[in-house]
């Protein structure tokens, strides 16, 4: 296994809910077919793209998930989702990115069983910034679509049971 290839079993358990969620949410909400690429471990600190929706997980699993959109994908997917084009600097644009992140996380959460909580989404838009992984491996799921590329960066682990 190469250094950047995701280990199969343990990480697959947390990856699968997100690949299903991405396909489902973007097809239902933006009428777009997505193609999920091969997941790999993130080995750089910079965010993959410039528009990020971040959701925290707590309860059964701990960590965060970042939906990172290229500008092209962000613009087009927000338009397809919201029904109109929004400026990237507008609150409506951030709301839409946050809502898409929330839906993907919520859909994945359903497959993780009861006892998993998700936070409000936070939305970061800019250039040359990093979103820190939280002392745990970050698996990047690359996604392509006719509306542009984006990725889902998953840094979560199962919470150890308390005695």
């Amino acid at each position: 296994m190469s250094a950047t290839q995701a280990p199969s079993t343990a990480i697959a358990k947390v990856i699968v809910p997100f690949t299903h969620a991405v396909r489902q949410v973007f097809f239902k909400m933006a009428k777009v077919q997505t193609t999920v690429g091969t997941p790999h471990l993130k080995n750089q600190t910079a965010s993959t793209y410039s528009i990020c929706g971040i959701i925290g997980f707590s309860g059964n699993v701990t960590g965060s998930v970042v939906l990172s959109f290229s500008e092209e994908a962000g613009d087009n997917l927000v338009e397809a989702f919201a029904g109109e084009r929004h400026e990237r600097s507008s609150a409506d644009f951030a709301d839409a990115i946050g809502e898409l992140a929330n839906m993907v996380a919520g859909c994945a959460k359903q497959q993780m069983g009861a006892g998993t909580n998700i936070s409000l989404p936070s939305v970061v838009i800019g250039e040359k910034y990093t979103v820190a992984a939280q002392s745990m491996p970050c698996v990047v799921i690359p996604v392509t679509s006719p509306m542009g590329s984006f990725s889902v960066e998953v840094s979560i682990k199962e919470t150890p049971a308390q005695a």
Binding site: F57, S89, L120, V123, T130, Q134
Partner: protein, 160 residues
């Protein structure tokens, strides 16, 4: 939860963890283009919202040097992120103690850069407290979830 309480909590965290006193300020004076390290800790449960800690890079560097007992020039970006995450976690943990129970803290999310803005859709600003650490302003922002009202607040993080 009042602004005074948040101010005192932040002062206590900085003083006890880093030995650096914080002095209250009225408004933040983040220079345009300043690189910022921003920690966001979400609170879920009986109360929903988030705590942002905005720290300019020089103050983050000083915090990391103090926390990890090293020279400022040897501090890496990851060290600053870890230090600000830990400080954010401590401040949020203390703020959580002032909120209705049961509530849980998320792990901190840390964003570092010089040209980004951050917001939590579906939230409103509750408090924003500005303090100065050795001449560098830091800010603690508390936002509360208002999922059903549709209001949203910018965390105030506009790093450029």
């Amino acid at each position: 939860m009042s602004e005074d309480e948040i101010r005192q909590l932040a002062q206590t965290v900085w003083e006890t963890t880093l030995g650096i006193p914080l002095t209250p300020q009225d408004t933040p004076s983040f220079a345009s283009g300043t690189r910022m390290v921003v920690a966001c800790v979400q609170i879920t449960g009986a109360w929903g919202g988030a705590v942002f800690l905005h720290v300019p890079e020089p103050a983050a560097r000083a915090a990391a040097a103090g926390m990890f007992q090293c020279e400022q020039r040897s501090v890496r970006v990851q060290d600053m992120q870890e230090a600000v995450a830990e400080l954010g976690n401590m401040v949020a943990g203390n703020i959580k103690a002032l909120l209705p129970e049961p509530s849980c803290l998320s792990l901190p999310t840390v964003v570092e850069g010089g040209d980004f803005s951050s917001r939590i859709p579906g939230s409103r600003l509750v408090h924003r407290v500005v303090l100065s650490a050795d001449g560098q302003d830091i800010a603690v922002t508390v936002v509360e979830s208002v999922r059903h009202s549709g209001a949203a607040s910018n965390s105030g993080v506009k790093a450029a």
